[in-house]
C-alpha cells in the first residue's frame, strides 16, 4: 500500500516547478496572450531539454521510457501555471497511440521529434455537431493511389495554431457507424490547412476551426489500421482525459494557495479576512475539492498504467469530479479576492477560464457520469 508519488516523480514535480517559476510562472501565459507567441517555442525547447517531453517515450527514440503516471507531476505544474500549448495532447494522446499503433517509421519520426521538443501535436476531432459519437465524424478522406484527399472542416481544435501535427479522425468508409473511421497524421510542413482562430474566453489556449481543401495526405500518414480506428481513438481519449485531470489538479492547487495567501494577508475590519469563518471554511471546502480531485486523478493515472479493466471508470470519475471542482473552486477564488479577483490584471480569472475551457472538452461532467454508469453495467 503506497499511494503517493515516488521520489523520482516528486523530483520531476519540483524541477518542473522551478523551471516554470524561473521563466515567470503565470506571466508566461500573460505574455502569450498578449502576443508573445515565441515564448511557447522557447518553453517547449526547454521542456524537451529537461526530458519532460520524453517521459513516456521509449528510450530508443530519446525518451525516458516511463509510464503515464510519471507525466502526472509535470501535467500538474503545466496546469498550475495555466500554460499554453498542447502538452497533454502531445504526451497523453499522440505519444501513447504512436507507441502502440505507429509504424516503425512513424515512431522514429514523431516520437523522436516530440522528445526533442520539436513537435507539438494536437487533435482535430469535432465537426459540425459538437456531439461526440461515430456518426459525427464525416470529414471525407477519399482514397487515391498514393494516399488520401481530405476535404472539409474540423471545429474547435485546441492549439491548432501552434501544433506542428494534427491527428485527424476522418471517414474512409462506412456511413455513420464506427466502421470507416481512420486516423491521419497531418503535418504542417507537408500540407496546408486553413486556420480560423476563434475568440474564446481562455486566451491562453486558442481554439481554431481548421479547413482542409483537397489536401493530399500520403498513405504513410495513416495511424493504426484503416477504417477501424474508432477504438484507437477512444483509447487515446481516455488517456488524454486522465492527463487533463492532472492539469486541472495543478490549477486547483494553485487556486487554493492563492485564496489561503489572500486570507492571511488581506485585512478588513482589522483582521486578516481568513479569520472570518465565511472565508475560512470556504477555503477549506476548496481544499476538500483539491484532495478529492487529486486522489481520483492519481488513481486514474495509475489505472491507465496498471489496471486497464478499471481505467475507463476511473478516468470518467476523475474527469467529472475534477472539472466540476475546478469551475467551482476557481469561482470561489474570485469571491475570496473581492474586487481584486474581478480584475483582468489579477490572475484569478485565468483559472476560471481554463476551468471552463476544460469542463466540456472531450465530454461534459454529466456525460462522464453517464459513461461511468454504462461502464459499470448499471
Amino acid at each position: 500500500m503506497d499511494f503517493l508519488l515516488n521520489e523520482e516523480q516528486q523530483t520531476f514535480q519540483s524541477s518542473a516547478r522551478q523551471l516554470i517559476t524561473s521563466k515567470g510562472d503565470l506571466n508566461l501565459s500573460r505574455r502569450y496572450t498578449e502576443g508573445e507567441e515565441g515564448i511557447l517555442t522557447e518553453l517547449w525547447t526547454e521542456l524537451g531539454e529537461l526530458g519532460y517531453l520524453g517521459i513516456n517515450i521509449s528510450e530508443q527514440y530519446g525518451g525516458l521510457g516511463m509510464g503515464a503516471l510519471t507525466l502526472v507531476p509535470v501535467l500538474e505544474e503545466i496546469g498550475r501555471a495555466v500554460l499554453p500549448g498542447p502538452y497533454a495532447e502531445t504526451m497523453a494522446f499522440a505519444t501513447p497511440l504512436l507507441e502502440a499503433y505507429g509504424t516503425p517509421e512513424q515512431k522514429q519520426k514523431y516520437l523522436s521529434e516530440i522528445a526533442a521538443g520539436k513537435r507539438k501535436i494536437s487533435i482535430a476531432l469535432l465537426e459540425e455537431s459538437i456531439d461526440f459519437h461515430p456518426a459525427t465524424i464525416q470529414l471525407e478522406a477519399k482514397e487515391v493511389d498514393e494516399g488520401y484527399i481530405v476535404t472539409g472542416k474540423k471545429l474547435l481544435v485546441p492549439n491548432a495554431d501552434v501544433a506542428d501535427t494534427l491527428i485527424v479522425p476522418v471517414r474512409t468508409g462506412g456511413g455513420h457507424g464506427e466502421y470507416g473511421i481512420s486516423l491521419l497524421l497531418v503535418d504542417r510542413e507537408d500540407v496546408e490547412w486553413k486556420i480560423e482562430r476563434l475568440k474564446n474566453l481562455d486566451e491562453t489556449r486558442n481554439v481554431c476551426n481548421v479547413t482542409f481543401d483537397h489536401v493530399h495526405i500520403a498513405k504513410e500518414q495513416l495511424l493504426g489500421t484503416k477504417n477501424i480506428a474508432w477504438g484507437i481513438l477512444q483509447e487515446g481519449l481516455v488517456y488524454l482525459n486522465a492527463a487533463l485531470c492532472s492539469t486541472m489538479v495543478g490549477g486547483i492547487e494553485k487556486v487554493v494557495e492563492m485564496s489561503t495567501e489572500h486570507g492571511n494577508t488581506r485585512m478588513q475590519f482589522g483582521q486578516p479576512i481568513g479569520r472570518f469563518q465565511a472565508i475560512k471554511h470556504r477555503i477549506v471546502d476548496m481544499k476538500l475539492a483539491l484532495e478529492g480531485s487529486r486522489s481520483l486523478t492519481y488513481y486514474a493515472a495509475w489505472a491507465v498504467e496498471n489496471r486497464p479493466e478499471e481505467m475507463i471508470e476511473a478516468v470518467s470519475l476523475a474527469k467529472s469530479y475534477t472539472s466540476e471542482s475546478y469551475v467551482k473552486v476557481s469561482g470561489d477564488n474570485i469571491q475570496n479576492h473581492g474586487g481584486l479577483g474581478f480584475t483582468w490584471e489579477f490572475d484569478c480569472h485565468l483559472f476560471l477560464k481554463r476551468a471552463r475551457a476544460l469542463e466540456n472538452y472531450l465530454g461534459s461532467p454529466s456525460e462522464h457520469r453517464e459513461k461511468v454508469a454504462e461502464e459499470l453495467g448499471w
Partner: protein, 397 residues
C-alpha cells in the same frame, strides 16, 4: 393579496413603453443593435441615452415635480424598473446623480448647492460618480483613508478611490474623505462634491475579467474642493453617505426583473440547442434544472413583492432588501453558469464568435461581480443575521 396595478399605474407603464419604443435605438429590443465597445463611442452613446431620458422626463422620476421630476410613487418606480428590465435598457450614465446625489442635495444640500447642481444633474449636463470604495476599504466601508485637509476656504484631498463606475465619463464626484482622526472609524468623515476636471484628479479605467472597462480607479493628488461643496456638516459624512444610500428605495428591482427575463432566455436556449439530435429541453436532467430555476426566479420575484408590500405598509424599506440582493446575485451566477455549461464545447467562444449570443459569456463573467459589488454576499449575510434575525454581531475588532 392583490397582484394588479391601478389604472393610473398602468397608464404610467403604457406611457413609458410607448416612449421606449420610440426612443430606444433601432434594433435594440431585437438585440440586433449592440452598444459600442470602444470608450469614446460608448461614452457618446451613453450620453445620448442620458440626454434622451432627461428630455423625456425619464431621468429622475421620483424627483419632485417642481424640480423637473414626476414625483413617482414607489410602485411607479418599480414599474419603471420592470419596463427597463423588459427591454434590457442601456445603463443610465448619470444614475449616481439622478438616483442618489440629486435627491440627497434636495434633502440636505445648501441653496447654493441646489442651484448649482440640481438642474444639471437632471438634464444630464453634468455626470456624477461616487467615491466610496478604496483599496483598503472594501467590505470595511468605513475604513476610509483618503484625507482632506483644510486650507483657507478650500479643502485639499489626497488618496485613492476605486471601483467608481463610469468615472471616465463623469464630471463630478461625491467623495467621502477623512477629515479627522478620532480613533473611531465612522467618525471624522466628510462628504465632498468634487469637480474631477482638475489637475489633482486622475482616473484610470479598470479592465474587468469580461474584458470591459466600466470601472475606474481615481487618484486624488492635492485635489481642491471649496468648503461650500461640503454636504452636511464637517465630520458628519458617514451619516450623509447613509442618507445618500437611503434614496435607493426600490432595491434590486431591476436585477429581479432582469432575472425573470434571463430565465426565459435560458428556456429558449434549451429549446434551440441540441445534444445528440434532441433539443436540450427534452433531457430529463435539464428539465429538472429548469424547473428548479423557475422556482427560484419566481421565489425571488415574489419575495421582492412581499418586501415591497412591507415597504409600502411601513413607509420605508427594511433590511429585507439584503435578502433580495443576496438571492438575486447568487441566483444570477448559478443560472448563467448553467447556461454556459449547456453550450458544451462551444461554451468558451465569446464576443463575435459566441455560439448563441455573446451576452451569455459577457453576463456570466460579469455576474462574478454581483456577489461582491454593493456589499458582498458575506456582508449581506451578516446584515440579515444581525438586523433581521437578531443574531449576535461579529466580534468588533
Amino acid at each position: 393579496m392583490d397582484f394588479s396595478f391601478t389604472p393610473e399605474e398602468e397608464k404610467f407603464r403604457d406611457e413609458l413603453r410607448t416612449w421606449l419604443e420610440v426612443n430606444l435605438p433601432a434594433g435594440w429590443i431585437e438585440g440586433t443593435y449592440v452598444m459600442p465597445e470602444e470608450d469614446a463611442a460608448k461614452g457618446a452613446f451613453l450620453r445620448e441615452w442620458q440626454h434622451k431620458l432627461s428630455e423625456g422626463g425619464w431621468a429622475g422620476i421620483s424627483w419632485p415635480k417642481e424640480y423637473g421630476g414626476r414625483g413617482a410613487s414607489l410602485i411607479e418606480e418599480v414599474i419603471y424598473e420592470q419596463e427597463m428590465a423588459r427591454v434590457k435598457a442601456p445603463p443610465v450614465l448619470n444614475i449616481i446623480g439622478t438616483a442618489m446625489v440629486g435627491p440627497t442635495l434636495l434633502q440636505i444640500g445648501t441653496d447654493k448647492q441646489k442651484e448649482q447642481y440640481i438642474h444639471k444633474i437632471l438634464n444630464g449636463e453634468e455626470i456624477w460618480c461616487q467615491g466610496y470604495s478604496e483599496p483598503s476599504a472594501g467590505s470595511d466601508l468605513a475604513a476610509i483613508q483618503t484625507r482632506a485637509v483644510k486650507q483657507g476656504e478650500n479643502w485639499i484631498i489626497n488618496g485613492q478611490k476605486t471601483w467608481t463606475s463610469y468615472a471616465h465619463f463623469a464630471d463630478r464626484c461625491f467623495v467621502l474623505a477623512r477629515t479627522e482622526d478620532t480613533g473611531k472609524k465612522h467618525e471624522g468623515i466628510t462628504a465632498f462634491l468634487v469637480d474631477i476636471h482638475q489637475e489633482g484628479v486622475e482616473r484610470q479605467t479598470i479592465r474587468s475579467i469580461n474584458d470591459k472597462r466600466d470601472f475606474n480607479e481615481m487618484f486624488f493628488d492635492n485635489a481642491v474642493v471649496h468648503e461650500s461643496d461640503i454636504v452636511g456638516e464637517v465630520n458628519d459624512g458617514w451619516r450623509v453617505g447613509l442618507i445618500l444610500l437611503s434614496h435607493e428605495r426600490v432595491g434590486v428591482a431591476r436585477q429581479t426583473f432582469r432575472l425573470q427575463k434571463l430565465f426565459e432566455e435560458l428556456l429558449d436556449l434549451t429549446k434551440n440547442l441540441k445534444r445528440n439530435g434532441r433539443p436540450l429541453i427534452q433531457d430529463p436532467i435539464v428539465r429538472q434544472k429548469l424547473a428548479g430555476f423557475r422556482a427560484e426566479t419566481r421565489a425571488l420575484l415574489l419575495n421582492y413583492y412581499r418586501h415591497l408590500t412591507e415597504t409600502i405598509r411601513n413607509g420605508r424599506p427594511g433590511p429585507e432588501g439584503s435578502i433580495d440582493k443576496l438571492n438575486s446575485s447568487e441566483l444570477s451566477q448559478r443560472i448563467l453558469s448553467f447556461a454556459i455549461s449547456l453550450q458544451g464545447e462551444s461554451s468558451l467562444l465569446w464576443k463575435e464568435d459566441a455560439l448563441v449570443s455573446p451576452s451569455w459569456q459577457q453576463d456570466y463573467l460579469r455576474a462574478y461581480a454581483h456577489t461582491i459589488e454593493g456589499g458582498t454576499s458575506e456582508i449581506q449575510k451578516n446584515i440579515i443575521a444581525e438586523r433581521i434575525l437578531g443574531l449576535p454581531k461579529d466580534i468588533k475588532y
